[in-house]
Amino acid sequence: MSLPTFKRGIHPKENKSLTSESAIEDFKPSGEFVYPMSQHIGAPCSPVVKKGDRVLVGQKIGDTEAFVSAPILSSVSGTVKDITTRMTISGGIEQCVIVESDGEFENGTTLVPRGDFKSLPPADCVKIVREAGIVGAGGATFPTHVKLSPPPDKKIRWIIVNGVECEPFLNCDNRLMREEPEPIIGGLEICMHVFPEAEGVIAVEDNKPEAIARIGREVSERGCKARVMPHRVKYPQGAEKMLIYTVTKQEIPPGALPAEVGCLVMNVRTLYHIWHAVTDGIPVTERIVSVTGDVIANPKNIRAPLGTSVRAMIDAAGGFTGDPVKILAGGPMMGISMRSIDVPIVKGTSGILALSANAARSFTETNCIRCGRCVSSCPMGLQPSLLDRVVRLREYAEFEAAGGMNCIECGCCSYICPARRYITQSCRDGKAGVMAARKKSA
């Protein structure tokens, strides 16, 4: 029997074995920690500490009144050295709070361990999630308390746990599922407590049999009313729309959120945070990052405090064995290439990937030969070759009419293109062009 999947998509080389068998290692560096005030989708935070203040682990250092946002917490104890602008991992310049660690990791969270969540009203759980600074850990960093507060007319029928991890090279979710499945399933139970009518489905790609087995055992031992659903290995299975389609056979209408089709999608790491925040009073101050790539000496999965520099992370993995031409935040399909490694890791950093010139080859574009590979790989059912053409002609209205705004920038079209065209980039340009035109006419 073939496993469930979505339509189209691609099969890039997985390269997972570099870090799939390396157990999570704790890394507690000292020195300077940098906290950008925007580590999520939504309103950036403002610093709530001053230069010279002493801060503790889990203490709020940035917050805002805005609903779609999440507070920023210190991951170390120490002194606020400066509040200034710094380059972030995505290449932007943002306001950051810089803390000099005292190496003590003294706890100062205001969260209290609640133990049994079942006696807590759901609204309290959502409040704790916000105060703990939890955002989608898969990479999109959408504030989790917002996800847990859907419009009242939208009934949540499925809670889909995203353990797909379809990006090549990355293993942070895989290792978490294998090593610490308890908080994941516990987090799912909390979500099911908030939405008692929802069915829990845990989606894992079939290339992680140990994770499937481990999670499955945890589910049955705890008596959790959820099912583990292995998915066929195909990129981008972990994309929210593809995942919801695979699990429920429903397509999210353009521009709509998962709640529209009764779904809530949570990354395994997000659930882990929810569990620790609610039952143990532990906020988000660290994350697991796969530090890997063909020029990393000892590729491994490192659990480090947020704000640790990428340089320190790479050093912790043994440094470089060759010259990296690209260093990515995230996986090779959707990751962002960094300009500098003196930037801090943030809540959405799932991987640090250093690639040689051979692994991250750049190519000269040639003419589109109309082979149709992009069309038969686009998971959104678009015609990428057409979008590429109209964007280069600056025909943004045509781009929009052809459905270009639905592009999820998964990169399948560029990956598969034999003419080596930068189609995904054209789609990004097209979306920006349409947005600019809308703004102008508004």
């Binding site: 339509k7 691609i10 890039p12 090549p168 729309k241 397509e251 999210i252 209408p253 353009p254 709509a256 470089f320 010259d323 990296p324 031409v325 690209k326 990515l328 090779p332 399909m333 959707m334 990751g335 962002i336 290439s337 960094m338 300009r339 500098s340 490694i341 690639l355 991250a360 080859r361 190519f363 040639t366 003419n367 589109c368 030969i369 109309r370 082979c371 149709g372 069309v375 686009c378 998971p379 959104m380 059912g381 678009l382 015609q383 070759s385 052809a402 459905g403 639905n406 920038e409 990169g411 560029s414 990956y415 598969i416 293109c417 034999p418 003419a419 080596r420 995904t424 980039q425 990004r428």
Partner: protein, 312 residues
């Protein structure tokens, strides 16, 4: 690490398959048909093939150099056109005619329209059509191992009353009169099968095209249908290697089926009712012209949208 990092838009990895690799597989898949052609039709075929390839590659290189464009002959697409052109002419043809056909295909059909990916007609087929108009006798003089003879299609048509139909086995293996690369259905199926196996072409166009011709001609009650009908003439070569040309065929699955059905219909009508015994080339050329509209009408449905974009 002191060197500068390279910064670009994702994705940062690319598939191994590029245009050149695709063309190389097409060339490899065309090889069996050429070998069998040279075996049954005589070694002069090799000269014709060489003339086709050299004229196409040279025409492209000279044109691009003269037009101050990057010279792209290393993508091997000109080699494919040259091979296909040679496969579509008789082995006895004067070489200068092949050169004229190659230059016409490359410059007028391909580069006047913008080069690879931009042409609206299959260059090799348009080159062949030009040659058939200019030199009708030389283009339809058929021999097997130096002995002139009739093609099965000419016999079926009744334009060659002296000829007799070969056995199905001879037609399948390629021991019949015809163009260099079209006679051996077996060799073409092997090559075409390789292209399908390597995911370079889909089964849709060749299968729908051939089945359409087989069904229509059987329904029309043609002598020898369906097997003699599909093993003779250019149908096999056309269906596997010419109608599947990326640039001039639709990109969507649905569009490919419509396109292939149209090819099959037109080829059958020409064979049965037209002035020519063979209609494969023209059927593909005519359907090439419908490709933009087919693509437009068969745009895939965008994920999550209820209505498709077709006919917008």
């Amino acid at each position: 690490m002191d060197q500068l990092l390279s910064v670009s838009s994702s994705p940062h990895i690319r598939s191994e398959t590029d245009t050149r690799r695709i063309m190389a597989w097409v060339i490899a898949s065309l090889a069996p048909a050429g070998v069998v052609g040279a075996f049954f039709l005589g070694t002069r075929s090799i000269l014709v093939i060489a003339a086709g390839i050299i004229s196409c590659v040279a025409a492209e290189a000279i044109w691009q150099k003269y037009m101050k464009q990057p010279v792209t002959v290393s993508d091997l697409s000109a080699v494919v056109t040259g091979l296909l052109l040679a496969y579509n002419v008789p082995p006895t043809i004067p070489l200068w005619m092949v050169v004229c056909g190659g230059v016409f295909a490359m410059i007028i059909v391909k580069h006047f329209f913008g080069g690879i990916g931009q042409n609206i007609l299959n260059p090799a087929l348009a080159g062949r059509a030009m040659m058939l108009i200019c030199w009708p006798i030389a283009m339809t003089t058929w021999t097997v191992r130096g002995v002139s003879g009739a093609t099965p299609l000419a016999v079926l048509k009744g334009t060659d009353v002296s000829g007799t139909l070969p056995s199905i086995a001879d037609a399948f293996l390629g021991n019949i009169g015809g163009c260099i690369g079209e006679t051996s259905a077996l060799a073409i199926i092997i090559g075409g099968g390789l292209l399908i196996y390597k995911d370079i072409i889909s089964w849709r166009i060749p299968v729908v095209y051939i089945v359409t011709v087989a069904v229509i001609q059987t329904l029309l009650g043609r002598q020898g249908a369906p097997l003699m009908e599909i093993f003779s003439g250019g149908l096999m070569l056309g269906a596997f290697f010419m109608a599947t040309d990326y640039t001039t065929s639709p990109m969507t699955s649905k569009g490919q089926i419509i396109f292939a059905f149209g090819c099959g219909l037109i080829a059958s009508l020409i064979r049965s009712f037209g002035g020519y015994p063979e209609g494969v080339s023209y059927s593909i050329l005519i359907m090439n012209l419908t490709t933009p509209i087919i693509d437009r009408l068969t745009m895939p449905r965008v994920f999550g949208e209820v209505k498709d974009h077709g006919g917008r």
